[in-house]
């Protein structure tokens, strides 16, 4: 069989470059997110706005007021549902899911999101710790781990599609100049934490006798990009399938815990929102989980005594740290580790050829959408004076896109809980857990020191 196989000439199966644009959720996040930004920009330039569609509940004190709000704006909520369902429906269908399964799930997700968004606008929400991201997560976890969620509902619970779309929309509220200004600090802070955390996890795992491929998969999962980092590394180094599953379960376990623990610690320490966002961005393990924590913490601004800064600062600082500082380097990690695996580690009998092209192939493309959205709004804003920006661009362009982003994030937070099964944690034994946990401890402490001591001046100014 072997001789026969080796004597034959077969090109590896490669899909065309165009297929990538409709088969990856990164690209769908770009199409949907940038499409909304382009429409909003076009309407603003022509003197109109997307704000009728981008409905967002207002602050309320008594329950009947909240109900009346939703009833009075029912048409707008229906229109918003139709737009989201159409856009995400096209994307999900292109990814290979049936619309007949997506639509009912997404309808329920949307209704639950209205409830969570409205709850978050209650004037006592922060007092009772009812931050929408945390409530969404708990609600989702409770449902998924008690009554259960049918498998067909997967079509409507696409965490990555929703979070990436939200991040692309987030780019519209971050000027390109701010990203460039923060870039060096973000990259230095993220590089320090990533290298140290990877080193701690990798060498602890090897010291405990674990396979180098598992150690590397765990290391990148903890240091760079969570589950995405783990699977990119597993593929690059040729890890056992079981190794990938172990890393995934450990990342999810700690990422979910960190969603609750990091905002709680930051609240106890009364950190400004920009500083807390940077810490969460440095020490959380996954984009979706970190955004839940950062958005929850941002919600404390103005509601919890002693917490300074704007709500936006927590989410913005998190996104820069996590996305620009850590996520974009995933291809480089995978490429370097594939070289090490090929040249230094014990052979598995499976051969691979490290190729620098992997850096681009594994690049999280949605980051391009985030930067383009930022560039579009920056260019449009540059044509206005500061007074006109506050009067025209902010309410007509930026605010509606921020509202749409909050919707996308709310879908995400619910979907995380609804797709997480607690019984899937701890499938790999004690040693991987110890190694990963050692990295978590170092990561959290180092992230805290860098955000609150070394770069505290920068992150405090960032949040103002």
């Amino acid at each position: 069989m072997t001789e026969l196989a080796q004597s034959q000439v077969h090109a590896p199966k490669r899909e065309s470059a165009w297929t990538e644009f409709i088969r990856k959720d990164d690209w769908w996040a770009i199409w949907i997110g940038l499409g909304l930004v382009a429409v909003a920009a076009g309407l603003t330039v022509s003197g109109s706005s997307l704000k009728w569609l981008a409905i967002a509940p207002q602050k309320w004190k008594a329950w009947p007021d909240a109900v009346a709000q939703v009833r009075d704006h029912a048409t707008q909520y229906l229109a918003l549902f139709a737009v989201w369902a159409t856009l995400f429906g096209i994307g999900v269908h292109s990814l290979g899911y049936r619309l007949s399964r997506f639509l009912p799930t997404f309808a329920l997700l949307f209704v639950a999101s209205i409830g969570l968004y409205v709850l978050g606008q209650w004037d006592q929400a922060a007092h009772y710790n009812l931050e929408p991201p945390l409530v969404a997560l708990v609600l989702g976890l409770l449902i998924a781990n008690t009554v259960g969620v049918p498998q067909w509902a997967d079509a409507g619970l696409r965490v990555e599609l929703y979070i990436k779309t939200g991040i692309v929309l987030l780019g519209a509220s971050l000027p390109l100049t701010l990203i460039a200004w923060a870039g060096p600090v973000v990259i230095v802070q993220a590089a320090i934490v990533s290298l140290v955390t990877f080193g701690v996890i990798y060498f602890t795992a090897v010291r405990l006798g674990l396979d180098q491929r598992l150690a590397a998969t765990l290391g990148v999962g903890g240091a760079v990009c969570g589950v995405s980092g783990a699977i990119a590394t597993a593929g690059a180094v040729g890890a056992r399938k079981q190794d990938s599953s172990i890393a995934i379960s450990l990342v999810i376990f700690w990422a979910i815990l960190a969603i609750f623990i990091l905002p709680l610690l930051a609240r106890g320490l009364q950190l400004p929102t920009g500083v807390a966002g940077a810490w969460i961005g440095t020490s959380e393990f996954a984009d979706a989980a970190g955004l839940a924590a950062a958005q929850a913490y941002g919600g404390y601004a103005g509601h919890v005594a002693g917490i300074n800064g704007t709500p936006e600062a927590a989410v913005n600082a998190f996104t820069l740290m996590k996305v620009i500082g850590r996520d974009v380097w995933i291809g480089v990690w995978a490429f370097v580790l594939s070289i090490v695996a090929t040249t230094r580690w014990q052979s598995t009998g499976i051969h691979s050829k490290p190729n620098p092209g992997e850096i681009w192939r594994r690049f999280p493309k949605f980051v391009l959408g985030f930067l383009i959205a930022s560039a579009i709004v920056t260019v449009i804003s540059s044509g206005y004076s500061y007074a006109d920006y506050k009067k025209v661009v902010q309410p007509s362009l930026v605010a509606p896109l921020q509202a749409l982003r909050v919707w996308a994030f709310t879908f995400t937070f619910l979907a995380i809980g609804l797709t997480t099964r607690v019984r899937e944690f701890f499938t790999g034994g004690a040693k991987p857990f110890y190694a990963f946990t050692a990295g978590v401890a170092v990561n959290v402490v180092l992230g805290y020191l860098l955000s609150t001591q070394v770069f505290v001046g920068f992150w405090t100014r960032f949040g103002q």
Partner: protein
């Protein structure tokens, strides 16, 4: 198992040879044991869809080798290759 330890200086040359050879050699991407279907990958790796996705760009065209029970790049290859029909 025998440990493969090549000089790192040989890596660029090996990479170049690999890039040229990848179009000629049978590789996982066309092997019958190799599964690249995102739905299948998500079902075999519980938790993947919670905080990531098999449709993500970072996955590139990696997949699961049913023969070796490994998660591999599509450009990998081994002696057990069998062309997908």
């Amino acid at each position: 198992m025998k440990v493969r330890a090549r000089s790192t200086a040989a890596v660029p040359a090996a990479m170049w040879r690999g890039a040229v050879a990848s179009a000629l050699e049978p590789s996982c991407g066309s092997c019958r044991y190799f599964c690249q279907q995102p739905h299948e990958i998500e079902s075999q790796m519980p938790g993947l869809r919670s905080l990531s996705s098999a449709h993500a760009s970072v996955r590139a065209s990696d997949g699961i080798c049913r023969r070796h029970d490994r998660y591999l790049a599509a450009t990998s290859h081994c002696a057990d290759y069998q062309q997908r029909m």
